[in-house]
Symmetry: D2
Subunit: 264 residues, 4 copies
């Protein structure tokens, strides 16, 4: 009756407690910040200066250079820009990530408007039965008031309840989805029953300034000047993205931390 193999050979539901974040392209380096910032004062020489930062360095300069290969004055400039919130020099770079996460994470993610998104479509394809279930270390109990929640560990019983409820509902919902597809109902209609913990996938492209804004809101850190209360699951994405970014732009990331993780 149907020629769609996927429908005649339904996959078994599977469960995950993690997210996937891959760096598809990282066109970003600390030097990008330097040339952009120095055009203010150096005009036509700023690119040369940025490139020359290390090449011209003699023995003394090399000695003065920090762990990241930048001269001390380069790191000083980046720190100054971060501290006084000169944000535009952090925009001349680009990172594309591939992310797999539950839909409730993507709902929060895509509220960040200074980014480019392309996501798997439940209208164009049959969604895979991969569902999120919290790991044992995920705090389950919320305390405090709106805007300042704290999360504390759940009991074994609570974890068992969550595990059972989420697994059962996910399996039941996907079977319902399959029955509607088998009956010839459009994917965009049938998906209505799928739960918020089903995984989706997307590409997201940001620059470092936008990423720092994302990190300031989606990670919870004691050294942050402004408090944030991200849901743990989007924080998992943010932490992975931050790791990739720190590799690409170590001096920028260090300055971000040193200045209270406030996006410039």
């Amino acid at each position: 009756m149907t020629t769609n193999d996927e429908q005649t050979q339904p996959q078994e539901p599977s469960f995950r407690s993690d997210v996937t974040v891959e760096l598809v392209r990282g066109a970003a380096s600390d030097a990008d910040v330097l040339f952009a910032a120095r055009v203010s004062t150096a005009g036509e020489q700023s690119l040369d200066q940025a490139v020359a930062t290390r090449d011209d360095a003699g023995a003394d300069a090399a000695h003065a250079a920090g762990e990241h290969g930048l001269a001390k004055r380069d790191r000083g400039l980046i720190n100054f820009l971060m501290r006084d919130r000169h944000g535009s020099p952090f925009e001349h770079n680009s990172m594309t990530f591939y992310v797999q996460a539950p839909i409730f994470v993507f709902r929060e993610f895509q509220r960040h408007r200074i980014a480019s998104y392309n996501e798997e479509s439940g209208r164009y394809r049959e969604l895979r039965p991969v569902f999120y279930v919290p790991a044992r270390e995920r705090n389950l109990v919320q305390e405090g008031r709106p805007g300042a929640y704290r999360f504390v560990p759940g009991t074994d019983e609570q974890h068992a309840t969550v595990e059972r409820e989420i697994r059962e509902q996910s399996v039941a919902a996907y079977a319902s989805y399959q029955r509607m597809l088998a009956a010839g109902v459009a994917r965009e209609v049938a998906r209505a029953v799928l739960p918020l913990n089903i995984y989706s996938s997307m590409y997201v492209t940001v620059n470092a300034r936008s990423l720092m804004n994302f990190l300031s809101l989606r990670t919870k850190r004691d050294d942050a000047h402004f408090p944030s209360f991200p849901q743990r699951e989007i924080e998992l994405c943010a932490e992975r993205m931050e790791e990739f970014w720190r590799e690409l732009m170590p001096a920028t990331a260090a300055a971000f931390d040193a200045n209270g993780r406030v996006a410039p």
Copy 2:
């Protein structure tokens, strides 16, 4: 055990096939387009000119004025701007809508980045058991290829299947959600089982240029220059928003139609 009345008096699930769209504030008129456009050529007099459009009108001008009270040359200017895609004069206005729709609609909605959103939070409050189920007139069967789908009516049997599956899954999912809440599990965790057809609510603020872009992509019209294939449920929102907008900016809306519904 809990002081939360909502949890001790759970609501019964209810089902809707429509969306709610209210205009909270419409600070928008055709005259806004005129003063913004005329500053290019009139400079310091553009505001006076825009305001004077009708006041100065003598008998002849009044006769020449169209149904919407604008002089013919005013409507001509708006049409010219639309046709040749001078978009910025359509930005000096603002409309705030209150929208209730299923989450799968909000997922599409919030991909439009030139807008302001504030939405009900499943982290901060217990979500209400209101679910979407397609009406009898909603086409259920998808034909064609990705990027150019057509939708045709479902059979009675298909409608019965969809109605039954969606209702059963919604009720079961909400009961599961309630059991987890009753067990002391955080709302943000328990909501994982809720389906994409649960209703949410939000405020969205846009200007006319952004709204036209939204309408060009989220309504399907034969008189559109570029084809669009919106999911019917977001089109319901778009149609309601367009009605409010047409009341506020009739000459702009007429020019939008007359020029193939291409956002300038």
Copy 3:
């Protein structure tokens, strides 16, 4: 030879030391912040709650209400949003300003991308001979280093020099512009000789969140958490815009000040 009266009756150059800022439309109030913020927790009741804030108030509540008519808990909510940088509730409003200022001010102004602009065009009209010259109280001498300049008063001699040089160059440049126009040269070519201190005019539309970002960068205040070093002439615009905004959204403006004038 020409039918353009403006060219046959050239205006005399005039000089100003101030800027014009008018509020064309202010669709903005503190209550807008409340309904947008409360949708997170109140969902479908947020608009009613926002509207009812004052209506429902009995004698005690009225007594508790502050100078701006908001209940204490309303002002508390706005302060909380500002302090913890929940920015989106400050976007559901709109202000349109008409601004006249020198081109060097507009150059800085239009770098702010979250705003809508329409400006007088030197391609479409002959620019008026109105030029900026610093007032006696404008500090003329710059001290310190890039990124942290201080300005101190100029001597009488310096002021006389600036006055003379700017007036002479402005008059000479405008005469040159007129000669090229009289020779049939296109306005967009002839304007090349006009100086950066010639006035232009524009409409700019922003929301309160964007405006706070503008104010944080374009005003210099001792109570600001992050230092800013605006050029005095754009600060004149910013100060006027802030006055209008404070009238419209007094509780929001008070919270902005109370929290270090950091845009949320």
Copy 4:
């Protein structure tokens, strides 16, 4: 009196009729469009598919591949996205340009808000005396009406007038600027007399979607669906940027042309 060598050794004014556009980094390829678009339908396999487009190609596929190395179906997908205005897949890439052009060009350039800019600052450095003067082939005479101007060649006399006026004013203005600087006046004040034809320099970073929007408005082409009337000097920038972009994304550029140069 001053330790600033630049002021004691003033440069001689020089004149140019061209612009400088360099590609600082081009992190952009047609394949970026493919993986971003295919995630809609292919989900987790889209990156593999995009990469495999050429690797998997057997003899037949290689034969079918066009001049740019993409398979026919890849080029077909890009053309479909362009034609039906699916814009987001064109955003996952980044190009940084270094541009030198007169300030009146930058004024138009920076109105494009979906881009990142860092520009030389007249507050932070003494501007160089490099000025724009139209080349002999630059049309000097404007005909028609606002919104639809045509430009036709000037006479020898008109060119002589323009050349003389612009050179004289530029030299006089720069001398005035120097006199104010020599008197100890701040750069940001003294620059008020500098004309709009003085050169500045900046870095600008865009993605292909934003660039296509820029090109659709800032180049004048007979094969464009929507008419544009760019000033010739910004068109010079746009043409150079387009050349670099065509090298990086030839199939995308071909589809842009084939579909009326309408930005998707």
